[in-house]
Every structure is written in structure tokens, then in C-alpha cells.
Symmetry: C2
Subunit: 215 residues, 2 copies
Amino acid sequence: MREVFHEQLSRVGRDLSTMADLAAAALRGATVALLDGELNRADEVIRGNEAMGLLQADVEAHAMDLLACQAPVAGDLRMLVAGLRMSADLERMGGLTVHLAQISARRHPEQAIPADLSSTIAQMAAAAAELADGASHIIKGQDLETARTLGLRDDEIDRLHEDLLTALLTSAPGREARAAIDVTLAGRYYERFADHAVSIAHRLEFAVTGVDSSV
Amino acid sequence: MREVFHEQLSRVGRDLSTMADLAAAALRGATVALLDGELNRADEVIRGNEAMGLLQADVEAHAMDLLACQAPVAGDLRMLVAGLRMSADLERMGGLTVHLAQISARRHPEQAIPADLSSTIAQMAAAAAELADGASHIIKGQDLETARTLGLRDDEIDRLHEDLLTALLTSAPGREARAAIDVTLAGRYYERFADHAVSIAHRLEFAVTGVDSSV
């Protein structure tokens, strides 16, 4: 019975780490679309997000089945509930990559991000995508050491986000309101994407140790 | 055994509807702070949000206990998992009210929202607070009819949000970037607050009927 349970739980874990890989790839694609104005990359991200919804539904169905049929307790129960929450985080990360792609699609053929702000956006994007890589890695290996380092990358993203808004505020007058809106939203989406990756790390830590380090 | 279970489940429901009431009140407070520049209201919202975290922890602890000790199935299991998710939605709604309060606190004594945009913000806020009232009502009464109407209010908020961004784009040149950032973020926060309230309605519907209407 427990072997079946752990085999099914591994399947949930594999789906979750696939979702994290897809989220990282989508974030990188959306960033190319945003910074280089590549409309086809934006379309790819928007269409590709359907796979995230299917995987999330798969994770939820499996987790609910396991809860109902195996009545897990203690660490197994925590791991399943954490899996349900991680699937919600990952689905949201996918949604945020769609929002980023939509910004670039809406402005095409113009560039949404002004040239002087693109390097800060590129740095936020690189750090956020690495957080999603990290989330995939820690889900695969239940690697608590790496989980605990993800918060540091997130601090870096928060600093870059502040830099971005400061640059927007101190920029030459005459910057279009459109650019201010796009940059503000893009910055917020990268920040939230990173927050969800860090929250996955906290959820894993809680599932493994029973201690919630996020509060 | 089932009586104890349902008594405990009712307690989770009461906590959740209290959280929805707090979220609605905090959103109204944050809006007064934002539109009238009342710093003490902003402080109230920021300090008051601690109660949301405590209630969420209470809901989670109870739900995990019930899952572990009572091994619920079918509708009872769905209701508990839905409760866990609702608590996450509600905690996030509280977080968004804090973000709104922080916008006004950061700009004090200046007004964050330009006078010509304040009526659209006020309308978004009123509709979003009513959605939180609705979420509290449907959690209390498991009222599916009302749950199904919440999506309509959300459509209204989406339209107001578009109006807001259009007004920002077409406004007189010379609008400060600071105002564009504040209005863009505030609009996004109200929109997300409303999305979470609607998601609570979907979760309740799923818990009661077993059918997920959100996909």
C-alpha cells in the first residue's frame, strides 16, 4: 500500500518539476519577446501555457485521489498538501509569463521596454528564471540546502525591482505613460514570479521538516 | 465522529468568513487612505493584517488535523481542500490591501492618485469590496446562487481597470511617472483582489458540486 502511495507521490513530484521547467522556459521566452519584440516568441508562451493547466489538473486529481484512498498522515500528508499548493504557485507563475508575453504582443511592433531600462529587466528575468530552475531542482531532489538559498536570489530581484522603479521615476520627462505602465507591470510580474518560486521552497521545507520557515 | 468532524469544519468556515470580512474592511480602509491621503487609515490596514495571518494559520492547522485524524472522503475532503485554498486566497487579499495602503503611505502627504482618476479607483474599490462581502456570505451559507453571480461583478472591475489604464494613457502629457506607477499598481492590486474573491466562489462551487466551473 505504501509502495503504491510513494510511487504515486513521485508521479506528482515529476509533474511539479516539469511545471517548474515549463515556467522557467516560458519566462525566458517571454523575456526575449519583451526585450527583442519577437512576436512569435510571445505567441509561443501564450499558447504553451495550456500545458501548465493540464499538468496542474493532473497533479490535483492525483493528490485528491491519494488523500481520499490512502488517508496519509504526518510527513506524507504534509507532502501532498504542499504538492497541491506548489501546483497553484506554478500555475500562477505560468500565468505571469503569459501576462509578460501579452505586454510585448500589445505593443508590437513597438518595443514595450525603453532601451535604457532593458538591462535591469534582463537581470530581473535571469534571476527569476534561475529561481524557477531552482524550484524544479529542489522538487526533484527534495534538496533543503538549495531551498534555503532561494530567498537570497529573491532579495536580489527585489533590489533590481526597486532600481527599475527608481530609474523610471528619475528618467527624462516626456517618457510616455504607456512605457511607465508597461515597465511597472513587467517589474511587478517578474517580482511575483520570483515570490512564487520562493514560496515553493518554503512549502517543500515545511513538508519535509514540519517547520514553516516563511513566518 | 462525523458530528465532531462537521463541528470542526464549521469552525474552519467561520474563520474563513471572518477573514473575508477583514479583507473587505481592509480594502475599504486602504481606499480611504489612498483617495483621501489619510495616513492613520493606511497604518491601521498595515497593522491590522497580522490578524489575517493568525486566522490563516488557525485554518491550516485545523484543516491538516482534520485531514490526518478523520481521513475525510468525497464532499468532506473537497470542502477541506477548498478551505485550505480559500485561506490562501484570503491571506493574499489581505496582502494586497497592505500594498494599497503602502502606496498611500509612501506618497504622504501628497496624494498618490491624481484627482481625475480617483472616481474610477473608487468604483473599482467599491466593486472589489462587495466581492469580498459576497465571498464572506457564500462561505457562511454555502450559497451557490450568489457564488455564480460574483463573476459578473468581476467583469465590471475588469472594465473599470481598462478604463483606468486608458485614462492614464490619454491624459495630459506631463503627468508624473510617479503617478503612472502608483495608478498602474493600484489598479492591478484591486483587480487581483477581485480575482481572488471570484476564485473563492469557484472553489466553493467545486467543493459542493464536485464540478470545477473555472476551467
